[in-house]
Subunit: 370 residues, 2 copies
DNA sequence: GTGACGAGTGAATCCTTCA
DNA sequence: TTGAAGGATTCACTCGTCA
C-alpha cells in the first residue's frame, strides 16, 4: 500500500491500483481508471454547507464549524457541475452490475439525487442514518438535525446488483433490514486524531460503512472511494476482505489514512474488537399518544386517589390550575415532590374505574412494533 | 364549507376561500389566489413512481412509459416542469414569513428538493417520517422502504418563520424534537373508506399533519393544501383551530373530503394552547415578579450548585457582593461567562429543594393569560 | 478499583429589538 | 441599513479527575 503521487498527464492505468490512495482530484484520478472496473463506489462528497457566522453553545463555547476550503462553492450551479462531473466518471468505471452509495445532508443530497437520476443510475433505496447522539439545535430555531441521507443506486434499471439479504436480516435480529439505521456518530477511540485534534471534520463511523459493504459487496469485490478522507472505507474494506481504491486530494488526509489502514486488522483478528453496536431507538413520548389520537386534547387526567386533576393540551403538556408542563413535571409539582413518574401517576377515568396512562403507552407499543 | 366548481376563466378571488375545496388543477387554482396570502402550504404531490401511470405533463397529457435512456430523461423533465410550475405559484401566494412542507419518497423528493432550492426557498430541515409499521419488501431484493421524507422550507433565507419550539419539546417528553419522527401509517378507523375500499391510495396519517401544524403555525393561520386528496390537512386544521384552503382535481376525493371535514370536531381553546417559548410568550420582566409580590425584595437566589448567591432588590436587579445588574448580567459575571440565561441559572431555596425562577415566570404567564 | 462529577464535543445553513 | 444591547439556548456520550 502506498500513496500514488499526482503526476502531470498521468497515463491511464492498465492494472487497478488496488490498496492504493491516489493523491489527486477525484475526477482526474477516476479518468485514468478503465471502464467497468469496480464493483462499488462509496462517496462522501462535500456537502456545500453554506454556514453563516459563528455559533455559540449556551454555556459559551464555540461550535467547530466545517469551514474547510473543500466545502466552499460559489453557487448551486457550481456545485451541480462538480457533482455531475464526478458522478459521470464514477458511472463509467462502475461495472454493469455495480452500485454506488452517496451520503449527504439536506444541503446537498437533493441535488446529488437528481443528478443520479438524470445520469441513468437507478435508485434502489434512500437510507436514513439516524444519529443516536446528534448535536442539538442550540438556539431552538429548528428541529434537531439528527440524520443524514444515503442514496443507493445501481448503474442502470436492469442491473443485477448484489444485495446480501440474509446477512442483513441476521444483522437485524432476523427482521428485514429497514431503510432507517440507528448508529452513533464517530467519536471516542475510533475518531482519528493528530496531535490531539480531530484529523478530519466529518469522519464517518466504521459501523456505517461496515453495514454497506456487508450488504452490497462480495468478498474480494473492488470498492472505490473518491473522497477518501481518513480512509474509513479502506479500513472497513480491509477488515471485511474487500479490495479498495482511495482517491484523496489533501496530502494530510492521505498520510493519516495510510497509517490507519496499515493498523486495521482483517476480520478474523478483529472479530472481538469493539465495533459500536446500534443504540436503541427513542422511546415513546406522551405527546405521541396525543398526536395519534389515542388521547384527545382536553381530556382530564386524575391521580389514583382523585386528589388532583389536569387537562391534556395539544402539545402533550398538562395544565392544572396554575401549573403546566410534562406529565412528570406537573405530577411532581402538585405533590410537592422532587420527581414523579407521570406514566403511573396519571389516570384516565373510565366506566370501569381508573386506568393508568401507562397502559395506553403499552397499547401503542404493541400496535406499532413489528 | 363547500366545493368551488372549476369554471372557465375563473376570476382571481379578492377574499380568500377559507374552508373551501377548489375543484381544479392546482396551478390554475393557485393562480387565482392573491400574492403573499397564506401562512403555510402543505403539499403531498404525485410521487412519480417511475412511470407507473400517475405522471401527467403540466398541460395534462399523460407521459408514456418508456425505458429508453433519453425518454427517461424526458419523463424526469416533464415531472420537473410540473413540480417547478406548482412550486412557483406556491411561493408567490406564500406570505414572506410563511413556510412550505412537501412530502415525498426517493422517487421524487430529490427533484422536488432541488427545485425548492433553485427557486429561492430556504430549506430549514428535512424530516424523516419513520413508519412504525411499513410494508415489508416481499422479494428480499432491497432494504424495507420504511420511511418518507418531508422538506420544510421558508420563503427565503431571511424569513422569520414560525417554529413553536416549546410545543415540540413538550410533545417529545421535554427533549428537543428531532428530524426523525416515528409515527404509524394511516390505517384502522382513521383510513377513509368508500364502500369498504380505501378512498385514496396514499392517505397520510393525521398525526403527521398534526405535528406539522402544531410546530409551524399559530392559531388562526391559513394553511393551503394544493393536493388535498381526502382532506387530511383540512380535518387537522379544523381540529387545531387553523384556517384551511384545499385544492383537488378529482370530484370523488372532494366529496369524501367535504364529508370528512364536516365530521371533524374542533378542540376548544384551552386544549389547543401550548407551551410557549419565551420568545413568543408575552414578555415578562424579572422585575414584574417583584412588583407583583411573587418575589419579595431581599430574597436570596442561588445557582443549582449553590456556588453563588445573590439578593433580589426592589427594582428587579440582583446584588452579589460587588456585582449587580440584571439576572443575566450577574449570572454571567459571576461565572466569568460571556452570557447567561438568568431564568434557568438562578433558583429559589425551598423546603423541597431548589426551584429555578423560570417556573415562577411560567406560573405568572399562566395566571395572566387571557 | 469504582463511582461521582465535570469538562469537552459532534457535517449547524441556529436571535430579536431598538436606536 | 447597521450596530449595540438584551436575553434565550443543549443531547448523548466519552474521558479525565478526584473522592
Amino acid at each position: 500500500m502506498g500513496v500514488i503521487e499526482k503526476t502531470r498527464a498521468a497515463p491511464a492505468v492498465t492494472t487497478l491500483p488496488l490498496g492504493e490512495i491516489l493523491r489527486d482530484d477525484c475526477v482526474a484520478a477516476m479518468a485514468r481508471l478503465p471502464d467497468a472496473s469496480v464493483d462499488m463506489i462509496f462517496a462522501d462528497p462535500p456537502y456545500n454547507l453554506q454556514l453563516g457566522g459563528d455559533l455559540f453553545r449556551p454555556e459559551g463555547g464555540r461550535v467547530a464549524a466545517v469551514d474547510d476550503h473543500w466545502d466552499k462553492f460559489d453557487s448551486f450551479a457550481a456545485y451541480d457541475a462538480f457533482t455531475r462531473a464526478w458522478l459521470a466518471e464514477a458511472r463509467r468505471i462502475l461495472k454493469p452490475n455495480g452500485t454506488i452509495w452517496v451520503i449527504g445532508s439536506y444541503h446537498n443530497i437533493f441535488r446529488v439525487g437528481a443528478a443520479i437520476q438524470d445520469q441513468g443510475y437507478w435508485i434502489l433505496n434512500d437510507i436514513v442514518w439516524r444519529k443516536a447522539n446528534p448535536m442539538p439545535n442550540f438556539r431552538g430555531t429548528r428541529f434537531t438535525n439528527a440524520h443524514e441521507t444515503l442514496i443507493w443506486a445501481a448503474k442502470g434499471e436492469k442491473s443485477r446488483y448484489t444485495f446480501n439479504y440474509r446477512a442483513m436480516k441476521s444483522l437485524n435480529d432476523e427482521l428485514q433490514m429497514r431503510s432507517d439505521w440507528v448508529l452513533p456518530i464517530c467519536g471516542g477511540q475510533e475518531r482519528v486524531k493528530t496531535g490531539g485534534v480531530k484529523a478530519h471534520p466529518t469522519q464517518k463511523p466504521e459501523a456505517l460503512i461496515y453495514r454497506i459493504l456487508l450488504a452490497c459487496t462480495k468478498r474480494g469485490d473492488v470498492v472505490l472511494d473518491p473522497f477518501f478522507g481518513t480512509g474509513t472505507t479502506g479500513a472497513v474494506a480491509k477488515r471485511l476482505g474487500r479490495q479498495w481504491i482511495g482517491i484523496e486530494r489533501e496530502p494530510a488526509y492521505c498520510k493519516v489514512a495510510e497509517r490507519r489502514i496499515a493498523d486495521a486488522l482483517p476480520l478474523d483478528e478483529s472479530a472481538t474488537s469493539t465495533m459500536q453496536s446500534p443504540r436503541t431507538a427513542p422511546k415513546v413520548a406522551f405527546g405521541t399518544l396525543v398526536e395519534t389520537g389515542m388521547l384527545v386534547p382536553g381530556t382530564r387526567l386524575v391521580d389514583a386517589k382523585r386528589r388532583w386533576s389536569a387537562e391534556v393540551r395539544a402539545d402533550g403538556s398538562l395544565l392544572s390550575d396554575d401549573v403546566s408542563g410534562s406529565i412528570h413535571q406537573v405530577g411532581a409539582k402538585l405533590q410537592g415532590a422532587p420527581s414523579c413518574n407521570g406514566w403511573t401517576f396519571w389516570h384516565l377515568e373510565g366506566s370501569a374505574g381508573l386506568t393508568p396512562i401507562d397502559s395506553l403507552r403499552q397499547t401503542y407499543i404493541l400496535a406499532t412494533e413489528p
